[in-house]
């Protein structure tokens, strides 16, 4: 189409020159120049868009590099920590159970024995001598019951506290889910980019939106760059480090008293 326009203009130019119409020839020459400029601009536009594309691809690529080099290893460590935490909780609980079962069995056994003897006493089948013996045993038994109850209480409290893993691992897993969503989004964008249809115009629009989405994904997943007082979740050793992280209740107490609280 461009070729035809140029040809027509050229024909008109020749006509005007041949007919001696200087003004018309001048105009025709100007028109031809304008056409050439338009072509130039069109080519320039095309090149600019291609450059824009390439630059945006590169931005997206580096986002994926970040995911691969930083966030995914982070996520793996976090999940490994979840395994460690749940294992520790299970072991604490099992220890408490293994300590408690013999205690409760012993209580049961002893109370049955003594209960049988008490029955004999109630049926007046017991001599005074025997009763004195039973009396002493009951004294011992009451002391045992007190101790056993305290021991069971302690073990049950250990089991109670061991359940705190669920809240902490839940928070860690939520963060990993969020990261997986970011990876998913980046992959979708990458697929869309590489399968783009013809028409640089559409591609430029898509890449523009992708760059924006990629930027949003970076912002959403930028855990370490988040404003200081946003929620960060449980401290995962090896992943959450640095002097801004306080480790343990004692350090918290120290910090607070140093501030005068």
């Amino acid at each position: 189409m461009m070729g035809e326009q140029t040809l027509n203009q050229a024909r008109m130019l020749v006509e005007h020159i041949e007919s001696g119409d200087e003004q018309a020839a001048q105009n025709a020459l100007e028109e031809l120049s304008k056409l050439r400029e338009t072509d130039l601009y069109r080519e320039l536009g095309k090149l600019t868009r291609e450059l824009h594309d390439t630059l945006n691809n590169f931005k997206l690529d580096s986002r994926i590099t970040d995911l691969a080099a930083q966030d995914i290893p982070d996520a793996k460590e976090r999940l490994n920590y979840v395994i460690t935490m749940t294992e520790q909780a299970a072991n604490k609980t099992l220890n408490a159970v293994e300590e408690s079962l013999p205690v409760s069995e012993q209580l049961q056994g002893r109370s049955e024995e003594l209960g049988a003897q008490w029955e004999r006493f109630r049926r007046r089948e017991m001599s005074a001598e025997e009763f004195r013996g039973l009396s002493r045993e009951l004294d011992g038994f009451f002391a045992d019951v007190g101790q056993s109850a305290a021991s069971l209480h302690g073990n049950l409290s250990d089991v109670l506290m061991a359940q705190d893993f669920q809240d902490l691992t839940g928070q860690i897993i939520r963060r990993v889910i969020s990261l997986v969503q970011d990876v998913e989004q980046s992959l979708v964008d990458l697929v869309r980019l590489s399968g783009r249809a013809d028409g640089l115009q559409t591609s430029v629009a898509a890449v523009g939106a992708t760059a924006a989405a990629g930027g949003a994904a970076v912002a959403a997943a930028a855990v370490e760059e988040a404003p200081d007082v946003e929620a960060q979740g449980p401290h995962v050793p090896g992943v959450d480090e640095g002097e801004n992280v306080i480790q343990g209740q004692d350090e918290v107490d120290d910090l607070l008293s140093s501030l005068g609280f």
Binding site: Q166, D167, L168, D228, V229, A231, G233, Q249, L256
Partner: protein, 129 residues
Amino acid sequence: MDKNMKILIVDDFSTMRRIIKNLLRDLGYNNTAEADDGKTALPVLQTGDFDFLVTDWNMPGMTGIELLKAVRADAKLASLPVLMVTAESKRDQIVEAAQAGVNGYIVKPFTAATLNEKIDKIFERIATA
């Protein structure tokens, strides 16, 4: 310190609310209620006549720090003792909570002894204030 005081426990994980409720029961505090977010907790506090608030930080609707600030900004609730029990352990967060007027700050995972100690300390301070 009144063992019958009314305590509100706020955490988005129900397991954690249960743990804290049982620990408080063990310490003799049986008058407890629960909320699963700062957002649901605030109206409960406003109509509820509570003596003590125990809250997490990281919650989807309204975070614990926002709840604390809202409590301190409400004339009726401003002097309510608040204890934060949370996994958030960055220095800036602890400082922000202290500046916003929190009475105590416990990091998870914690022990029953720590909870007991911090509660005692909070009410000692209030008594001598």
